[in-house]
């Protein structure tokens, strides 16, 4: 018995104004966002939202191989489990893994193996569990993007990040990043995974009808789309480490025995500071840390994180000295709360402010400069 509400199966993939049904241009990606560290138990994890796809990936390992006979004495093994939730698709999927899921697990594994140093883990396994919570076309690509992020989040050395994105063809036009309907009713589909370091393709499948000329256009779109997603991957990884750095700085400053703090008191040439003042300064320091990007623009000659910190602290001191801010908290605990609140506020304000948009290009430059310093585990050799 079929379910009551059928899926649309007409062939129309374009609106009257020539744009795609969701309003995209032919070479435009769907909305993409990602996050790492979303599953606390896992060594590394990632959440990818790509169009209507909602995909979690988690890494366990390197750890002992089970069952033992699969272990190899010369290199580690990578095991990928791609699974779709029963409620991720229009018609309920059976919970048992099917042939499609097994095949996709294999091609994703082979897309990731070339960028890992498996020979460094003899007798061990790295497991990647991918769970598609909501599916909207192009899940194998989005899953690989998520798996790559989760591996980097787990701190597993990689030669490069990989990004999955598909090209295809519907109603005679070559398209980037097929949506669910374009995927189902279109004429062709080329899911690709791009190794970002050398722009080589590590996952490739193709179904449908397409001339070599059209395929070339498709690959051009894929490389262009992959670059955009890659930048978002880096941003997500950087954001996690920024967050850890911020938290560590709060803790360290609260303890009050950071080298930075010593430096600060020397610079200030102030005598003993009472704890109240100290905490309010931390408060300020946090605010400034959150506006780091902006400060970075003022201090472009100082790309290293350490220098950024010290410049941020100098900024905070100046502000405190000027008496611009009079927020003082009565005890350590409440001041910590304030720090969190104020950091949230300032984070929001920087997010929303139009100023950030103006600075964006210079921020990107900054990001490229600091790329090698990023502790995210990508691009390690």
């Amino acid at each position: 018995m079929p379910i009551l509400v059928p899926e649309p199966h007409d062939e129309i993939c374009f609106r009257e104004d020539g744009k795609r049904l969701d309003g995209r241009a032919v070479d435009e990606l769907r909305p993409f966002s990602c996050e790492v560290g979303v599953i606390k138990n896992a060594q590394g994890s990632a959440l990818v939202r790509h169009g209507g796809n909602l995909i979690y990936a988690a890494i366990y390992g390197p750890r002992e191989v089970h069952p033992r006979h699969l272990a190899r004495p010369d290199k580690g093994i990578l095991r990928v489990y791609y699974r779709m939730a029963t409620f991720s698709v229009h018609e309920r999927k059976s919970p048992a893994p099917n042939r499609r899921e097994n095949e996709i697990s294999k091609v994703i594994r082979e897309a990731l193996e070339p960028v890992l140093f498996l020979e460094a883990y003899p007798d061990s396994q790295i497991e990647i569990y991918i769970e598609v919570i909501a599916a909207d076309g192009g899940t194998r690509c989005a899953s690989t993007t998520a798996a790559s992020l989760a591996l980097a989040d787990a701190g597993i050395p990689m030669k490069s990040m990989v990004v999955g994105v598909a090209a295809g063809k519907a109603q005679g036009r070559v398209l980037l990043d097929l949506g669910d309907k374009e995927d189902k009713v279109g004429q062709a589909d080329i899911p690709c995974v791009v190794v970002m370091k050398d722009k080589s393709i590590s996952l490739l499948q193709f179904d449908g009808e397409m001339s070599l000329e059209e395929m070339k256009t498709g690959f051009e779109y894929v490389l262009k789309g992959a670059e955009i997603i890659y930048q978002k991957q880096l941003e997500a990884l950087r954001e996690k480490y920024n967050k850890i750095t911020r938290e560590a700085e709060i803790e360290d400053s609260a303890v009050g025995n950071l080298p930075q703090n010593e430096q600060k008191s020397i610079n200030e040439s102030q005598n003993a500071q009472d704890s109240l003042q100290n905490t309010s300064q931390i408060d300020e320091q946090m605010k400034v840390q959150n506006e780091k990007q902006e400060i970075n623009n003022d201090h472009k000659a100082e790309p290293s994180p350490l220098m950024e910190n010290s410049s941020a602290i100098n900024e905070s001191q100046k502000e405190v000295e000027k008496g611009e801010v009079e927020e003082k908290s009565k005890d350590e605990k409440s001041s910590e709360e304030n720090i969190i609140k104020s950091s949230e506020q300032s984070a929001n304000s920087t997010d929303d402010s139009p100023k950030q948009g103006e600075n964006q290009s210079s921020q990107e430059e900054q990001q490229l400069n600091t790329e090698n310093d990023s502790p995210s585990g990508d691009d390690q050799e």
């Binding site: 018995m1 599953i39 606390k40 909602l54 089970h66 029963t86 919970p95 769970e131 909501a134």
Partner: protein, 275 residues
Amino acid sequence: MMDINEVVSNLEKNYILKLLKQGKRIDGRGLFEYRDVKIKTGFIPKAEGSADVFLGDTRVMCGVKYDIGTPFSDNPDKGVCTVMSEYLPIASPMFEPGRPDEVAIQLARVVDRGIRHTNCIDYKKLCIKEGEYVYILFVDCYMMDYFGNLTDASAIAAIAALLNTNLPGAKLNEEGVPEWDGTYSPLTIYEIPLSISFGKVGNVIFVDPNLSEEMVLDGSIAFAVDEKKQVTSIQKYGNATWSVEEILDTSKKAIEIADELRAKLNLRQHVPQPK
């Protein structure tokens, strides 16, 4: 599943036990203090209903899908609702991929009974044609992150997803076959059952065990409690034995805690608008 003793050290184990005997807990809660619950619903577009529940750090996602099938012969005018659970290997280094094992099946059945025996869903409204066509609801609970007490988190996720469900309406066409009538409407849900689980170590009983407590406890007991302050289902698991007084006292405690939790969660806010 991996042997749980591998995960928690003896040192931690003894510390947890020592604390519990003093009426304290490793995460600073009181013995009958429940962890914070956060719920998000309606985030899976292709599911008829969905819920993402955090119980502390424990996380369970639940999606509701439907099918049209034939009713059971002893209930020809009633629809069917089945709860299933998946212990995703994403959720813990202890979980392995594969078919649901007995622990997973037990959890699904405990949640299922909590819903079934409270008279929660109006099953008669899920009947399209008596003896021939009924709705079959699939409530799939996915464990996303394991930090103890998956039973209660799954029960909340299941009922939240059911409340969040918008089911396409059916009418019979000329041939007597069901067809979509163009509408969506929420399920009729009379009762909101909640599951309250307790752990037991020696003589100490405490609510909502967290991960490290779950690793050391002797046994657990889960109560499903309805809005009429009745216990509607009990499952005892693990190796602890319970005296009759303990069971009755804990039941009372469960009713109190469930009442408080139900008021706090206000689950009916997740009911969608009919379309």
